[in-house]
């Protein structure tokens, strides 16, 4: 039972980790990308539609990523080239994506609300050869779909890219001091554009995971604001990839827990569903309390928070 919770936590956290990695890159590039949900829903839809028509998971994943990146490119174009406020662009793109996928669901797949079919292939579950037999670890980490492993492997890759590569350095400088980057001859807009595209890439994975691995169907608004949770994780961790992933997992674990608590406690389900959100707020308060106490003694007054 306990281990099953963790196994489920790994599953629940996966789309959050994907989306968080995507949002993290834009965060590091100085853009607050609130369109993660929009990217994800488009990817989820494209994945299901492609899988349904071609029967190929690979094509479906590819198409999902492309669709998500296309939307990201649109968003980037409006934000970077046409200087739309990232917040409006993000809101608009998200609701546009919700509406468009709902329209296309009817137009392309002939269904309202939900689409599911036997013809949609699903990502198979992988049993990790050696790990599977280790008592506790095996139960938690084995028996997920390939995308779950991909998500967690992305975390060190993103960290490595951010902190060990030229591109990562430039991206972080663009986020922190765009004038410095521009003066050093870096094409700030282009770097931001790339970050946004990659954000689309990761959300493409997240969407495909949601609709072809976690479940195998498409439903309107099926991202259920997971992108916003991912965003909160990023803020919480101030853009550190490992910490961000950990917060996403914390949220996933709290969710897994809240799924299993009702039978135990007999409490109203609404109160149990509060747990992940409340845990996140409490964690924020705790961190804020600790840093503020230290800062107020030796820092000049600042209101904008870093």
């Amino acid at each position: 039972m306990d281990l099953e919770i963790l196994n489920s936590a790994v599953r629940i956290s996966t789309p959050l980790v994907f989306a968080a990695m995507g949002g993290l890159l834009t965060y590091q590039a100085g853009m607050l990308n609130i369109a993660l949900d929009g990217f994800m829903i488009v990817a989820a839809f494209t994945a299901v539609a492609t899988a349904y028509f071609t029967g190929s998971l690979e094509l479906a994943l590819l198409a999902a990523i492309l669709a998500s990146m296309l939307l990201a490119a649109l968003m980037a174009m409006f934000n970077i080239k046409f200087r739309a406020h990232i917040f409006i662009a993000g809101t608009a793109v998200t609701f546009l994506a919700y509406g468009l996928t709902a329209l296309l669901l009817k137009g392309v797949l002939g269904q309202d609300g939900v689409f599911t079919s036997d013809r949609i292939p699903t990502f198979p579950v992988i049993h990790l050869p050696v790990i599977e037999n280790i008592p506790i670890i095996g139960e938690i980490f084995s028996g997920h779909t390939i995308l779950v492993y991909v998500a967690y492997v992305f975390v060190p890759i993103v960290a490595w890219t951010l902190y060990q590569t030229k591109w990562g350095l430039q991206l972080r400088v663009v986020g922190e001091a765009p004038e410095a980057a521009a003066a050093a001859g870096i094409n700030v807009d282009w770097v931001k554009f790339q970050a946004m595209l990659l954000s689309g890439l990761f959300c493409g994975f997240a969407g495909a995971y949601l609709s072809l691995a976690y479940v195998s169907l498409f439903a309107n608004k099926m991202t259920n604001e997971r992108g916003l949770i991912a965003l909160a994780a990023i803020f919480f961790a101030r853009g550190n990839p490992y910490l961000t992933a950990m917060v996403a997992i914390l949220f996933g674990t709290a969710t897994a827990l809240s799924v299993r608590l009702p039978q135990v406690t007999g409490l109203a389900p609404q109160l149990l569903q509060l747990i992940p959100y409340v845990v996140t707020v409490l964690a924020l308060v705790l961190v804020g309390w600790r840093t503020t106490r230290a800062r107020s003694r030796h820092s000049a007054w600042r209101f904008d928070i870093g």
């Binding site: 607050l32 409006f78 080239k81 046409f82 200087r83 739309a84 406020h85 917040f87 409006i88 662009a89 809101t91 608009a92 793109v93 609701f95 546009l96 919700y98 509406g99 468009l100 709902a102 329209l103 009817k106 137009g107 604001e225 916003l228 949770i229 965003l231 909160a232 803020f235 919480f236 109203a268 609404q270 109160l271 569903q273 509060l274 959100y277 409340v278 996140t280 707020v281 924020l284 308060v285 961190v287 804020g288 309390w289 840093t291 503020t292 800062r295 007054w301 600042r302 209101f303 904008d304 928070i305």
Partner: protein, 373 residues
């Protein structure tokens, strides 16, 4: 940050003067064209679709009343978002604040019957207080613990939804199959005017709020202070503005106004607090505020646009069988295009290409002779 202005020449002054109006119009035009292409791609006649959207929202008293009904909550939430964003506080929690305000108004509305001249104001005030209390959480966390209000608001929205849902389904649940509080007493109801729509006296409160805040923004010290702290809080603080206190109050005011949206819904439109009643007025409010460029009068215009699109949506569905999602798509194409800065500059650059160089000896230096104040 770029301080460059584009375009120049004699026509510039005139165009700059009407810029606030022209920019949205150009954007709506572009959005209409893009949306029209989309409609065409769906195999419908864009002229018919837009015709129905317009006639369904503006032509005839019933349609107009529906539009007004739909714009009312957006007036409140748009204004709420606008005043907080203008002061540099990212209150994206209007949705949650509206829900809590609605719950407060709903409870006061049914649980404490009294004469209407007391009851109605009290119930409205309860909505304000509910929203204000809910927004005080991110405000206090921001000011005293440096926690980003954006994240807190993101978390508080679902928390508000779940908590108000808990109250509606467990604590104050009205008997019957629906998840709602008991109906409010007639003494707490905002009067409605017609069977065609639930537009009610709340719209006057909303418009009054917009006008009051428009005046506050440009005519009062407080409004000036909010603007400065929105652009540069450190400078504002240095200059003697009590930024932490102002920040808390702006957030509370903003939340309170979002709470009024809830009160208007409960007291005017539903007659009781219903679980999960909002189709996302709080989020639409962000778009409305952005379109309005945080200007309270602009909020009225933007809310009207949104209300009209939503109102026209019903007629469009009724007449053509097209989906409500089409309207949503058209709506947010408009928002996206409106948000872009290109429409105006693009137009200007085409109308007024850069003028030839001015004669080189234009200005003579003034002598540097500052004297004591």
């Amino acid at each position: 940050m770029s301080f460059e202005t584009t375009g120049s020449g004699p026509g510039m002054a005139v165009l700059n003067f009407c810029r606030p109006a022209v920019q949205p119009i150009v954007a709506v035009l572009i959005a209409t064209i893009v949306g029209g292409l989309l409609v065409l791609a769906l195999g419908e006649n864009p002229i018919e679709v837009y015709g129905l959207l317009i006639s369904g929202s503006l032509v005839g008293v019933p349609n107009l009343l529906v539009t007004l009904q739909m714009m009312t909550p957006l007036l409140f939430t748009g204004l709420a978002v606008a005043i907080s964003f203008r002061a540099g506080l990212w209150n994206i929690g209007a949705e949650g604040q509206m829900l809590v305000g609605a719950l407060f108004a709903g409870v006061v509305g049914y649980a404490f019957p009294m004469p209407w001249f007391l009851h109605l104001p009290l119930a409205i005030l309860a909505g304000f207080v509910g929203g204000g209390l809910w927004s005080a959480i991110p405000a206090l966390l921001r000011v005293y613990l440096g926690v980003n209000e954006l994240v807190v608001c993101l978390m508080l929205n679902p928390i508000a939804l779940l908590l108000t849902g808990f109250f509606a389904t467990h604590v104050f649940k009205a008997p019957g199959p629906t998840n709602k509080l008991p109906d409010i007493a007639p003494s707490a109801a905002l009067p409605t005017f017609s069977v065609y729509s639930q537009v009610n006296a709340g719209i006057f409160i909303a418009l009054a709020c917009c006008i009051i805040f428009a005046i506050i923004n440009v005519r009062t010290v407080r409004g000036f202070e909010w603007k400065i702290m929105g652009l540069s809080p450190r400078f504002a603080y240095y200059g003697g503005i009590n930024v932490p206190r102002r920040a808390i109050w702006v957030m509370i005011l903003s939340g309170g106004i979002a709470g009024l949206a809830g009160a208007e819904q409960v007291l005017g439109q539903y007659g009781a607090f219903y679980d999960n009643f909002s189709p996302g007025y709080g989020f639409d409010g962000i778009a409305v505020a952005m379109l309005a460029n945080f200007n309270p009068i602009g909020v009225i215009v933007a809310a009207f646009l949104f209300g009209a699109l939503n109102g026209g949506s019903g007629v469009l569905q009724m007449m053509t069988g097209l989906s409500k999602y089409l309207v949503q798509v058209l709506q947010f194409i408009t928002v996206l295009v409106l948000a872009a800065q290109f429409s105006w500059d693009w137009l200007i650059l085409r109308l007024f290409p850069e003028p030839p160089p001015k004669s080189p000896d234009a200005v003579e230096p003034v002598n540097a002779t500052p004297t004591e104040a």
